[in-house]
């Protein structure tokens, strides 16, 4: 399960569309299991796509829509496949209502079901959480988790950090059409040691701790105020190893150590600035 993260206009949809065979790469080829995706409808046997546009055939019910999808995949038992997919996204209670009457979340789940009806190995989702309320979002995240645990390859895009953080540990960050970072987002963050990591520290004697920390090569700045210390460290690893030793040597008890910007947000804004 991989999240494709980037600001609007970074190229997330372009990447997904190239993978899904809806855009020709200007150079090279995009392949899934060795088969090119461009001008090759056969790839859709193992590929499911949930596009960003909320389009669905509004005049059909979810069950009809899913049965059509299954038939077009030439599945031997289209009705059963449709039913399975609807159960997977928990849309069976509303399956006989027209899609036009659905809420955004239900519509999105129906579209996910349509992308899953043929049990594809690879599922691509473009901004799957867009326009959903928190409850629907949670539901969709659970669904993606379940699908991922079932062994499917899932790639989804988002421009909202918390979404990616919650759904997937592996992140590909795209900025202006370039892959800016790749891997576990905490690891990505740590690799960027040339950027100060900020920690909020509170201890029994903040001022004495600040003096001792300034002697450390890994510390590039210390700020002190009523709430405690704000420490800027150039290198994540050596600072986090050094702090307990210093505290022990000085006889200071550290009450709180909080990596205050260890969120995807900061990784992201750093990458965008760079």
């Amino acid at each position: 399960m991989t999240g494709l993260l980037g600001p609007n206009g970074a190229g997330k949809t372009t990447v997904l569309h190239m993978m899904a065979g809806f855009l020709a790469p200007s150079r090279g080829t995009v392949t899934i299991d060795g088969a090119p995706t461009w001008r090759n409808p056969a790839v859709y046997k193992q590929l499911g796509l949930v596009s960003e546009r909320e389009a669905a055939h509004d005049f059909l019910t979810a069950r009809e829509f899913l049965t059509v999808s299954a038939r077009l995949h030439r599945l031997p038992d289209a009705e059963a496949a449709a039913q399975r997919a609807l159960e997977l996204v928990e849309m069976t209670p509303a399956q006989d209502r027209r899609i036009g009457t659905y809420s955004k979340g239900m519509r999105q789940r129906t579209r996910v079901a349509a992308a899953l009806v043929h049990d594809p190995q690879v599922l691509l989702l473009d901004e799957p959480f867009n326009g959903m309320d928190p409850r629907q979002r949670l539901h969709m995240m659970e669904l993606l988790h379940r699908l991922g645990e079932a062994g499917r390859t899932i790639l989804f895009s988002s421009h909202i950090l918390e979404e990616v953080e919650q759904v997937s540990g592996t992140v590909q960050v795209i900025v202006s059409g370039r892959l800016a970072a790749s891997g576990d987002y905490r690891a990505i963050r740590r690799l960027m040691s040339n950027r100060p990591h900020v920690f909020a520290v509170h201890s029994t004697d903040d001022r004495r701790l600040a003096v001792a920390l300034m002697g450390q090569a890994s510390v590039t700045g210390v700020e002190i105020d009523r709430t405690g210390l704000t420490i800027r460290a150039g290198d994540y690893g050596s600072f986090t190893r050094a702090l307990p030793k210093i505290a022990l040597a000085e006889g200071i008890r550290v009450r709180r150590l909080h990596p205050s910007d260890e969120s995807l947000e900061s990784v992201f804004s750093y990458l965008v600035e760079a």
């Binding site: 609007n8 001008r39 409808p41 546009r53 909320e54 055939h57 059909l60 059509v68």
Partner: protein, 238 residues
């Protein structure tokens, strides 16, 4: 089974949109005018040309074909539902051909019945059949053209109207060479050759009409299949 499913969903989509209501008044107008002319005893020489050709073949047939032909695929492209059809492991001809068949059938039924009735009222059953047959051939050629247009341009209706109004309507009257590439002229010729009455004046020969209709139908269908194969979805910046 696949082609039937595509045809089914295309038909549902076509009749499910309000645009479909536009199909009703135009053919009724042709029949209505024919009935009124007959009822008031106007000589067919005086009304057949404007009603059958001026309205029926030059306006009703192409406009209906335009609404339907761009509706079977163009509206799915507009609202994005085409992606659901395209993300299936189907050779693209299996998508284009059922849509072409639906477009042709709906246009033919809508237009040819009206043309048949008006033809019978103007002259004879033979003229009615000639016009209906011309309507069928025209429906096929126009549908293939407009279906391909909806894949070639983002504004198929506009481009289709330009073809119908400017190329066929305007240039067709003044520049005789344009008639060879005018579906309207093929339809006129076929109807006139099936039922030679003197009410219709065909301007191209029958072989040209038949061959060119076939070239229109096959050529634009092949173009549509090829375009659909490389159908791109541009990313939208939200």
């Amino acid at each position: 089974m696949v082609t039937q499913t595509i045809a089914w969903i295309t038909t549902r989509g076509l009749f499910g949109r309000r645009r479909f209501l536009l199909l009703i008044p135009l053919p009724l107008l042709v029949v209505g005018l024919a009935i009124i002319s007959r009822a008031f005893g106007v000589a067919p020489e005086n009304w057949a040309q404007p009603v059958l050709v001026g309205l029926g073949l030059a306006v009703v047939l192409p406009v209906i074909a335009l609404i339907v032909g761009t509706g079977v695929l163009g509206s799915e492209i507009d609202d994005g539902t085409i992606v659901h059809i395209l993300t299936k492991p189907l050779p693209r001809w299996q998508i284009v051909l059922p849509k072409l068949v639906v477009a042709t059938a709906v246009t033919t039924v809508t237009v040819s019945i009206a043309l048949y009735v008006a033809g019978v009222l103007a002259d004879s059953v033979r003229l009615g059949l000639g016009l209906a047959l011309g309507g069928l051939v025209g429906s096929l050629a126009y549908s293939a053209l407009f279906l391909a247009l909806s894949l070639v341009t983002r504004r198929p209706v506009l481009l289709g109207l330009v073809y119908v109004l400017v190329w066929e309507g305007l240039l067709g009257n003044f520049v005789s060479g344009t008639r060879v590439l005018s579906v309207q002229q093929y339809v006129l010729t076929i109807a006139d050759k099936v039922a030679p009455t003197g009410l219709l004046q065909s301007k191209v020969s029958l072989p040209v009409a038949i061959i060119m209709s076939a070239i229109f139908a096959v050529g634009f269908t092949l173009l549509a299949i090829d375009r659909l194969r490389s159908f791109s979805v541009a990313g939208e910046t939200s």
